[in-house]
Each structure stands twice: as C-alpha cells, then as structure tokens.
C-alpha cells in the first residue's frame, strides 16, 4: 500500500454527487450547430484550417496549433463550416472569441484514421506528436496541452493520474473510471512508456468506492497502483494531490516536473489512449449535468462545441428555478450568463442549482478575525490578513503574505461566517498587482529605450565633433604646410593620412565602440542573444502559466503578467533589432571598404551574434527556396531535362533541412 500524507486545511462541503451517478454515460442527439472556440486550451488559440462553406469530416483537423503551447482542433462530426467568427466562449468574463461553427450533416462520416498497433515501437518524439496532433489538453479543468507537459526531459519519479474529482456535484471522472477503467489504465501505460517514471499512481478520493474497485481490478498486473485517501476538498488540486500521494511540495513558482512529478487527469489519460491506439482525436468529452433546476441529471458524452442550451434542453432545464448557471463545480466553477456557450475540452460539469441549493449573494459582515478561513486554507495562508491587506491595497504586505500562492480554491470564502467574498478580493488584488507591475515594467522599458537612444545620439554627436575637429586641424595643418615655403609635400601627405586614421579609421572606431559597450556602457549581450534569452524565458513562463491554470489557477495572474511582459519585451527587442544592426558599426562605415566589412563580420561573430534574421524568417526563406526548387524540378521533369536527378536530391535535402529547422523552432519557442 502506498502511504498517503495529509494536507492542511480543506473543507467538507456537501458532496451532492449521487444525483448524477444514477445512470450510465449517455450519448446526446446531434445538435443543430457546433461552435468550436479556437482557444479551448491554455496557450495560443488555434489557427483555422478551413473556410466557410467547406465540408469537413468527423475527426478532420479544422484548426492547427499556433505555436508550441497550443493545440489543434478537430471537427467533432461531419458537416459544413457555416461561420468563422467571434462567439461567446466559456470564460468568467463572458467574453467573445474566434470560433468555427459547423452544421452537422448527420452522417457522422469519419476521416480516415488509424491507431498505432504497437506504440512501444515509437520513439518519444513520435508519440508526443501523436498526442499533440490529436489536440489533447488537460481535461480536468486546466486545458494545458498534454504534449507540452509530457515533453519534459527532467527525470520523472512519479506519474500521477488524477482521479480525485474533489469538487461537489461533479461525477464525470467517477463515471469514466467506472465505465472505461481499461482505457485509463491503457492510457497510463502509454504515458509510462513515454516518460518512464519510477512509479505510476492513480489517486482517487475514498468517496468513490465503485470506481476504486473497478480501477483496482483493471490495474491488476500492470504495476500501476491505485492510491486512495480521505475525501476532502481540494485534494484534487494538482499541488494538493502531489502533497497527498508523495508528501512533496511543488516549490512556489515551480513546476511539478521540477520535483520529478508529472500529473494527468483520468479523462486526459483515456483520451491519450484513444488517440494513440485508435487514432481518434479529442472531439468529445464526458460532462456532468446536475443541479435541482434540471430534471434529468447524469453524465453525457458530449461533442465539443455543443451549445449548453442543447444539453440543458435534453436535461429538461427549468430556467425559472435556477439561481445561476455554473460551468464547473460550486467551488471553482464560473457563472455563465447565457446558454449559448459551447462545451469545450475542459467543461467537466454544467451545474444548474435551484435557489434553495445555492442561494443568491448574502451581504458580507465585518471580519471578526475568527481565523476559520486560515484553518481551512490548504496552502497555509492567512486569508483574513490577505483580506485586510487587499482592502488596504497594501501590495508589499500582500506579497509578503504570499498572495500569489493562493490557488483560489474558495475554502476560505466557504467557511467565512461573515460571508466575505474573500477569493474575489484576492483575484482583484492579484490583477491589480500584476497591472501595477506591468505598468512599472513598461515604464522601465520605455525609460531604458529612451536612455539607449540618448546614448546613441550622444555618441553620434561626439563622433561628429571629433570629425569636425580633425577636419579643422587638417585644414590648419595644410595651411601651415602651405604657408611654409619649404613644406614637404610628403610630410603633408603623411599628416593627412595620420589625421584620417585618428579621426576616421572605422575599424578602430568600431572596435572601440564595441569595447566601450562591453565595459558596461551598454548591455554586454548582443540583441540577438537577448532575444534568444527572452524567447526561452517566455517559453518557460507560458508553460508555467499553463500549468498554473491546470492546477487550479494558482498564481495564474502572476504568470499571465510575466508572459505579457515578456512578450512585450520580446517585441521591443525584436523591433529594436534591425535598427540596432543598422546603427552599429555599419551605419558609419563606408560600404565600399571591404576590409571594414570583414572586421565588422568578425566582430559580429566575436560578439556571438546570431544572424540577424529570426528563425521564422529563416524558415520562410527556406520554404521559398524549396518552392522554387520544386518548381524548377517540375519544369525539368516536364522538359525531360537531365537535371531532374540533381534537382530531386536538392529538394529532398531542403525538405530535411526545413523539417529540422521547424523542429528547432518548435523547441525554442
């Protein structure tokens, strides 16, 4: 038996799970329209691959991942693309975003697809590519692209499959474990093959005895262990579950992989199995519909993009009786304003509670500092103090009290006898601080840019002055030479050349400039290095942010902020890049001087500068070259020319190169 550890705090809200556990997972009739948001995951929204009017097949990719942290989207059924526009998407702010709408034709016609018979024959990159191209993202609520999480090259001690499902009301994972245990185990084995963990554990709260028994049976002989632990909210938070099953804590601001842990939700794991073994992309998910305002409660296999309205109609929703409509659970879910919003990859529950179940807002009373919130906090914060500081906008104290480690689980608000919406204060405070920081950073960037410009202008002025002085001296000397009757012409020439050397030798000047830059006048790194570094940092930041989202939005805002600032920085660095390459030595050097050009090149090399074009530019160039070569090849083939073979070879070579570059780019960004 695997030992389990306890976590501080936590609460025991009424579970309300039995309502939706009565029936098997049921399919849903096809809706009249599917609306697929491009951003169903954390990271860059996908890029549409289809146009309005296109006919698409079930499982056909309709949008492609836009970058490393992104995920493609597939048509959930066959039909016609009717619109690509902005629609309301599931988001706490009720915002609109780019969506592809599909009108199903009812034929459910699959695209040709096939799984991999023996995935153990695939190497890591191939397997990851399968998972990536199937559009699989964390389905427990986070939506972080699974392939990114799994691409870690850190040694992994524990692979943890999260079947905790600690939020009240939600039973999607419970039913999945009961009905598709074999899929989950098979998925876990694929993951095991992929990341080679020391142990694979499946964590389940002890309020799901049926699921535990079935999973235990399914896991028999697989070496995968089912770990059960007492029910307590929020045991299913990524950080909390890690603490429960391993006793370790993810360092603040770090990733689980930093301590040798990778976690995936059971739904995600099953989806990975279907993607690898059956070649099916992620086009549907299990969603719980529950609450007293629906007459039919249960779990449904819902096509992504299904409007909630369709789901609710099927479940005989009584809009008049509902106190609100929640996507997710009562602790961390967000309220929806209308029913037109679609089910996405992360929608695990639609909760339609009656007024008796979840009454409207109760006015908050004064904080009596009873510390019930602190007793309930699973990350050992002092919510009452945070509340105090948040009201006083005391940013330093908020940070000293680790506001950004708050996972927004809602335990504190739940227990607060004064009904204070504590989490709301924290969200606002986090957003505020991030904005503050961003503003600061922005003004700092502006300041740095201004100073750099000032320095450049000063330098240019100084150079001009020096030139003028040299010229004046030269004139004076020439005059003196001219005045002296015995003036030696040769002497004058020497003087001239010396003056020229002193004032104008560009190589000398360039080297001096470089020296002064290196000795602290300017940042020691080249702009290219800076950009590379920034890119790297951005990638980490995005990953962290996504993982933060995955683990229940802990620190999300902080990461979000750092991503935006990094993006801003990167943009400025890039925009500065061409300017800088122009202003550095080249600008003041006569182009005709070949020696100078050589020095310049050498210097650029010395400074470690990469070619000034970005990898994307390079890629584009390569693609263009490839296209031209292909065209030539076609022509040669048509003409029966003898160059065909050579051209073919070069096309092949180019393709290889291109692929390599693409891979590199994906890794870098």
């Amino acid at each position: 038996m695997h030992s389990v550890h306890s976590i501080p705090g936590g609460i025991h809200p009424p579970e309300n799970k039995t309502q939706s556990l009565g029936k098997a997972i049921a399919p849903l009739p096809l809706p009249a329209r599917l609306v697929l948001p491009m951003g169903q995951h954390i990271g860059a929204p996908a890029k549409p691959l289809v146009a309005v009017g296109d006919r698409v097949l079930k499982g056909q990719p309709i949008a492609d991942a836009a970058g490393f942290v992104s995920a493609p989207i597939h048509a959930p059924t066959s039909g016609t693309v009717t619109a690509i526009d902005d629609q309301p998407v599931p988001h706490p702010s009720g915002m609109k975003a780019r969506c592809i709408s599909i009108e199903p034709d009812g034929k459910e016609e699959w695209i040709v697809h096939q799984g991999v018979g023996d995935y153990t024959a695939l190497d890591k990159a191939e397997l990851l590519e399968l998972i990536r191209s199937a559009g699989i993202v964390g389905m427990g609520g986070a939506g972080f692209p699974s392939a990114v999480k799994l691409a870690t090259d850190k040694p992994i001690e524990s692979l943890i499959i999260n079947g905790t499902e600690c939020e009240p009301y939600i039973t999607a994972d419970d039913m999945l474990m009961r009905e598709r245990a074999a899929d989950i185990i098979a998925g876990a084995r694929i993951l095991g093959h992929l990341i080679k963990p020391g142990e694979t554990l499946i964590g389940i709260e002890d309020n799901k005895p049926e699921a535990i028994a079935i999973m235990r049976q399914a896991a028999e002989g697989s070496g995968i262990e089912i770990v059960t632990f007492p029910t307590k909210y929020p045991s299913g938070g990524e950080k909390q579950l890690i603490q429960i099953v391993t006793g370790k804590e993810v360092p603040s601001g770090g990733l689980p992989a930093d301590i040798g842990i990778v976690m995936q939700n059971v739904g995600t794991t099953a989806a990975i199995y279907r993607a690898v073994v059956h070649g099916e992309p992620l086009i549907s998910r299990i969603t719980t519909v529950t609450g007293d305002a629906v007459a039919v409660r249960g779990n449904f296999e819902v096509l992504l993009g299904t409007p909630i309205q369709h789901l609710l109609e099927h479940c005989e929703f009584d809009a008049g009786a509902a106190s609100r409509l929640i996507m997710g659970g009562p602790m961390m879910g967000f309220a929806l304003e209308n029913t037109g919003i679609p089910i996405v990859k992360t929608s695990n529950c639609i909760l339609a509670p009656s007024r008796q179940e979840l009454p409207g807002e109760v006015p908050a009373q004064a904080c009596i500092r009873c510390a019930m919130c602190a007793q309930a906090c699973p990350v050992s914060l002092l919510p009452q103090q945070l509340y105090w500081f948040a009201r006083g906008k005391e940013i330093e104290k908020l940070e000293a009290h680790q506001l950004f480690d708050c996972i927004e689980c809602g335990c504190c608000s739940y227990v607060c006898p004064s009904n204070i919406p504590l989490v709301q204060y924290y969200r606002a405070a986090k957003a505020n601080i991030n904005k503050h920081k961003q503003d600061n950073q922005r003004s700092e960037i502006a300041k740095a840019r201004f100073e750099a410009r000032q320095q450049r202008l000063d330098r240019e002025q100084a150079a001009k002055d020096a030139k003028r002085k040299a010229r004046a001296e030269k004139a004076k000397r020439a005059k003196a030479a001219g005045g002296d009757a015995k003036a030696d012409v040769v002497q004058a020439a020497i003087a001239r050349s010396a003056a020229k050397k002193a004032s104008q030798d560009p190589a000398q000047a360039a080297i001096e400039r470089a020296k002064s830059a290196r000795s602290g006048g300017q940042p020691a790194t080249t702009p290219e290095q800076k950009i590379a570094k920034l890119e790297q940092r951005l990638a980490t930041a995005i990953e962290k942010r996504e993982l933060a989202k995955g683990s229940g939005s802990d620190k999300l805002d902080a990461f979000e902020a750092s991503v935006t600032t990094l993006e801003a920085k990167l943009a400025t660095a890039r925009s500065e890049l061409p300017a800088q390459t122009v202003t550095t030595p080249k600008a003041k050097v006569p182009d005709s001087d070949p020696a100078q050009a050589a020095i310049e090149r050498a210097m650029a090399k010395r400074a470690g500068g990469a070619p000034s074009e970005s990898p994307e530019q390079k890629l584009a160039k390569m693609e263009k070259r490839l296209a031209t070569t292909r065209k030539k090849l076609a022509q040669a083939q048509a003409e029966g020319s003898e160059h065909v073979e050579i051209l073919q070879q070069s096309v092949q070579k180019m393709e290889q190169k291109l692929e390599q570059a693409q891979r590199q780019l994906a890794e870098n960004t």
Binding site: P13, P251, N338, P353, L358, Q365
Partner: protein, 342 residues
C-alpha cells in the same frame, strides 16, 4: 436569457457570524449559573443591564457612523462584549460602574478604533482595566459564597440584587463582600499554605470557594465552544499550561512565600473565563495557530507574574491587554509556512 454572474465559490456554509456569537453567549450560561449560585443574582442583574446599555450605545454609534443599524446589531457582538464585561465585574458593582464600563467598551474601545473586527484591544478587558483604575473600591468588592458554609444567610436574590446594584441598598454591600482568595494569598506573609487554607473560609477544595465551581463551569462552556469549532485549542491551552507551569515553579510545596499551587491558579479568579472567553477573542489575538500558541503562553506567563508580584490581585485583564498589544508582533514572527516555500 441572462443568469446571475457571480464569482466562485458559489457554495457557502450555513454558519454565520451571528450564530458564532450566539454560541459564545450560550457557552457562558454554565458559568453564569455557577456565579449566581455562589454569589447571588448580582451578575445576572449586571448582564441584563450591561446588555441594554450595549445595544443602545451600539445602535447610537452605528447611526452616527451612518451604518445600517439593524444589520450590524444582529451580529450579537455588542451583547457578547456586554456579557463578558458583566461577568468580569464584581456582582454587586453599582449601576453606574457598569454603565461607564460598557459605554467605554462599545464607544471608545470598539467603535473609535474602527468598529467590529478592527479594535486592537479586547473591549471588555480594556473597560475592566479602566474601571479598576478609576473605581478601585467598587471594583475590588467581591461577594463571598459564605452561604455554602453553615449558618450564613443566602446571597442576594433577584430583587435584592437589583436594589443593591441600583443604589437603594448600597450599605448592604459591605455585609456580603470579603477579600477574594487571591487577595488573601497576596497579603499572606506568614502562614503556610495549609494554615492559610484553614484560617480563611474563602478557600475551597483546590481554589477559591465557589470560584472553583465557576471556573469549572466556564471550562465546560469553553470545551463546548472548542467542540463546535468556534475557536482552536491553541491559545487557551497554551495559556492554561503556561500558567500551571509557572505556578508549579512558584509553589515550593506550600511555604508562606508560596505563590499557590497550579490547581489553585487554574481554578481561582478569572482563569477559565479568561482562557476560553477572553484569550480566545479572535479580533484581538494573534491570527495563526502558532501565533496563538505564543499569544496564549505569553498571557499565561503575564497572569502569573502579575498575580505573584504585581499590585493587582487578579491579572487576566492586564495580561490580556499586554497580549493584545503584542499580537501584531507575534503575527509578524509566526506567519505560517505557505505551501511550496521551503
């Protein structure tokens, strides 16, 4: 169709501040019964009178501050303050002492410092200290539970208590008050503990006569609140343990210089009342569990020091105020370790 847009969490416990305060009030009942049994109806009269003043003061101040009177009166916090102060006061303190005390607690200590939840000092204890300094005679006249010995008349009944407290029978006070066990102990210079016990009827089995039962009753109320999770065990247990430990050091097996046994200290004066109804006041104590351990221990230490060497016989009020004062510093040094921070 637009639905209510609210942020998570959507669920909430049924417990509210008013119910917490009500629990505290219920938990004082055993102690009040014990006090009434041994010292007569004076305390009850004071509680009713204090409660009335508290509600009037609270309502007036809320009105002045432009806050919704009904909404805030319903949190019962004024009644709790009044009840706790009335329990701490001598049962036959004159009506104006109660009036001054409650008004001071509500208007100055509570509202002038920002109202509910903002006050750095425990209102009941701050008012108690002010009264003790201003009216030492009235504040040190405690009734004695002599009726539990043979031949003594019963303590004042309801009507008698009212007439005493409201000044009609003021002369009667002297007849029913005596030095408290803590006073006696303080004044003792020559007698061994055992002899002191025999010489003074105020001493009971282990603590003061009657006092020990009242302490036991407050302990029961405290255990009830602990069971209902109104507060955690940290502050009261640290307080009681430290006090007992200090008393153990100072006991020296009962010489005339002895400071009284641990049991004597635990079951005399305001010890249990202080431990479960004052030290546990969330507003004015340290906030974290560790902080509350330190806070409780500090008050326990101070209570013993003041009882043993200070000028005032009972010390809970002073010690608590000092503890209140130190609470922010304690908080600063006892911030819990957050998840993910080494």
């Amino acid at each position: 169709m637009a639905f209510l847009r609210v942020t998570s969490p959507h669920a909430h416990t049924v417990q509210d501040t008013a119910s917490v305060m009500r629990l505290v009030l219920y938990a004082t009942i055993p102690g009040i019964i014990a006090l009434t049994w041994f010292f007569g109806f004076g305390t009850l009269v004071n509680i009713v009178w204090a409660g009335f003043i508290a509600l009037v003061c609270e309502a007036a101040i809320l009105k002045l501050r432009g806050l919704p009177v009904g909404f805030y009166l319903k949190d019962y916090s004024a009644l709790v303050t009044a009840t706790l102060l009335a329990i701490a006061l001598p049962p036959y303190a004159p009506w104006w002492v109660v009036l001054v005390g409650v008004a001071f607690a509500i208007i100055i200590v509570k509202h002038l410092y920002g109202g509910m939840g903002h006050n750095p000092f425990n209102p009941a204890m701050a008012a108690y200290v002010v009264l003790l300094i201003s009216f030492p005679v009235q504040m040190t006249s405690w009734a004695a539970p002599l009726h539990t010995l043979v031949e003594h008349p019963l303590p004042p009944g309801p009507l008698e208590a009212i007439s005493i407290n409201f000044g009609l029978l003021r002369d009667g006070v002297d007849a029913i008050t005596m030095a408290t066990p803590l006073d006696i102990l303080k004044q003792n210079k020559s007698l061994m503990m055992e002899d002191l016990w025999l010489a003074n009827p105020q001493f009971g089995l282990v603590g003061g006569r009657g006092w020990e039962w009242a302490n036991l009753a407050f302990l029961a109320g405290g255990v009830f609140l602990l069971a209902r999770r109104v507060f955690t065990w940290h502050a009261p247990v640290a307080f009681l343990l430290t006090l007992a430990l200090m008393a153990g050091f100072g006991y020296d097996s009962g010489s005339s210089q002895s400071g009284g046994s641990p049991l004597f200290h635990l079951f005399t004066g305001a010890t249990m009342f202080g431990a479960f109804f004052i030290v546990t006041d969330p507003v004015t104590s340290a906030v974290s569990n560790r902080g509350r351990l330190v806070y409780g221990a500090m008050i326990g230490l101070l209570v013993y020091i003041i009882r043993a060497w200070g000028n005032y016989p009972d010390a809970v009020a002073f010690a608590v105020l000092l503890g209140n004062f130190a609470a922010p510093f304690i908080d600063y040094y006892t911030q819990p370790r957050t998840y993910g921070h080494g």
